[in-house]
Amino acid sequence: MSEGYTTADGRKIGGVVMEMKNITLRFGGVKAITDISFDIREGEIRAIIGPNGAGKSSMLNVMSGFYVPQEGEVWFHGKPRPQMRPFEVAQQGIARTFQNIALFEGMSVLDNVMTGRLTHMKTGLFSQAIWKGKAEADETENREIAEKIIDFLEIQAIRKTPVARLPYGLKKRVELARALAAQPKLLLLDEPMAGMNVEEKEDMSRFILDVNDEFGTTIALIEHDMGVVMDLSDRVVVMDYGKKIGDGTPDEVRSNQDVIDAYLGVSHD
């Protein structure tokens, strides 16, 4: 399936966007990730699941450049990615959200979403500083895209509200908006539904599906709630104790004995 595949609901999935090759990550003597490989294809929703402490977040941090693995390579668009700092990864078109929400609390929702456009704004320091026509056009153009995302995620009503005043569920949505505003080639979501109630989880699932459907965004997400993930994703990687124990469609993964053992526990007798 090197040229992609068609999902059960008839969506065409394209070639490989990102490939993790034999990634090993250590913190001192502790192995967080051991020799894991998998790929993410264009247009798909790819989930990484596993129990707490399985190394999922570490994996996402490797993908977004926040951690540098000791072994293995990250391939992006068919080329091995040289060692990069996180802001350079972001400039390549990989946007992310954080498990514990990292928004700019003192800034308005609109300003937060506009920071997502920073990598697309091309005018230099000088013309920005004197605020000439070119910078203004640049601002207007990017503002339109930001407003479109804000409409799409239904947060128009809180555009001017400082983020610090928002409830948790809305903050998560603003963070998604900021990541989307970058029009990323790959969107990484770190536990987008953590700490949400059932209703909020349903909303977030709908938004993730809509984003994928409307913009064709390739999405990789981490989640430890299996139920949500299975409905959402096209393919699932399962991790446990830093190792990959399963990889495939939700149905394949669900019937995988190792996965069942990891989630339900297994008696060693």
Partner: protein
């Protein structure tokens, strides 16, 4: 109107204008503190360094001439040219940007994620280093700085107030210019941080480093930018103070006056720095005018600090600072 009241009004006006100069120095502190959480003890010395560099460039002085003459046995002091003020200011700004890059590369870049107290200690070191460097580069004698700013009594205000009250107010032209420039500077800085791409990135970094990285902002670039801005503010402050009282090493001590200003205004607020500066300026002048004679004079030396102490007791976050909330 009674003479006492008129005199008090004149003192208040002069206090406001002195306050503007305090606010200018405090502004430099706020810029760096907001963006990086560093309390830059070297801000005052940066103003001194900027002023000395400006004078040196304008007079065509050879930098490090004492050092060169001592090691090579030569006797050179001046290139023999004079650089026009505007060009010299631009060149000095260039030097301040280089300084910002050097500070980031050699000092702050190595101290990422360190405790605030460690960063603070580093800036104390930087202050001493810069003071030594200024001395070595340009010599330690008091120099006159004249970039063409008007100085002396403002005749228009003098004659208008004389016609109105029968008592002419003494307002220095330089103070008026300083006030206008400070106002422009604040408006420019606010516009920059609110409406430009780099300003937005700067606010983003000030708010959350990790999140800023995730939207593609280079922390290194932002910190160089912030130190350059602080260098620019230092240059403006250096020009004003240097013109007023000559370029000398006591200039670095004005940084200390900025501390009470910051305690009043709050460490994170640009308007706070301005209002704090004005309050200190007016407060110390009026206090000296009203109670100075009773207390043996020279109250200007300590009034600001006592006022700051009172603020620390009753409102530690300052007038405009963010409220400090510890979650348990």
């Amino acid at each position: 109107m009674p003479d006492q009241l008129l005199y008090a009004m004149e003192v208040t006006l002069n206090g406001l204008m002195a306050g503007v100069l305090y606010a200018l120095v405090a502004l430099g502190f706020v810029l760096i503190f907001k963006a990086s959480g560093i309390f830059n003890f070297a801000q005052g010395v940066m103003a001194l360094f900027a002023a000395m560099t400006l004078v040196g460039i304008m007079n065509g002085q050879v930098p490090f001439s004492h050092l060169i003459n001592a090691t090579l046995g030569t006797d050179i002091h001046h290139f023999g040219w004079h650089v026009p003020a505007l060009l010299a200011i631009i060149l000095t700004m260039g030097v301040m940007v280089l300084l910002a890059m050097a500070v980031q590369k050699f000092v702050m870049g190595h101290l990422v994620n360190q405790e605030p107290i460690i960063l603070f200690m580093a800036t104390i070191g930087l202050a001493y280093f810069l003071e030594g460097l200024s001395d070595l580069m340009w010599g330690s004698e008091i120099k006159k700085l004249d970039v063409g700013l008007p100085q002396g009594i403002n005749d228009a205000i003098d004659s208008v107030t004389f016609d109105m009250f029968g008592y002419g107010f003494f307002i220095d032209n330089l103070d008026i210019v300083a006030t206008i420039i400070a106002a422009l500077l604040v408006i420019a800085l606010m516009a920059f941080s609110q409406y430009t791409k780099q300003g937005r990135a700067l606010r983003a970094v000030a708010d959350d480093h990790q999140a800023a990285l995730s939207v593609g902002v280079s922390l290194n670039f932002i910190w160089v930018l912030v130190w350059s801005l602080a260098g620019f503010v230092a240059l403006v402050a250096g020009i004003m103070w240097g013109t007023k009282s000559g370029v000398q090493f006591s200039l670095s001590l004005i940084a200390l006056k900025a501390l009470p200003v910051l305690m009043l205004g709050g460490f994170t607020s640009i308007p706070g720095a301005i209002v704090g500066g004005l309050i200190i300026g007016v407060g110390e002048k009026l206090f000296e005018f009203a109670l100075g004679p009773m207390l043996g004079g020279a109250t200007e030396n300590w009034f600001a600090y006592v006022l700051a102490l009172l603020f620390l007791l009753f409102r530690p976050q300052g007038l405009f600072g963010e409220k400090i909330i510890e979650r348990v």
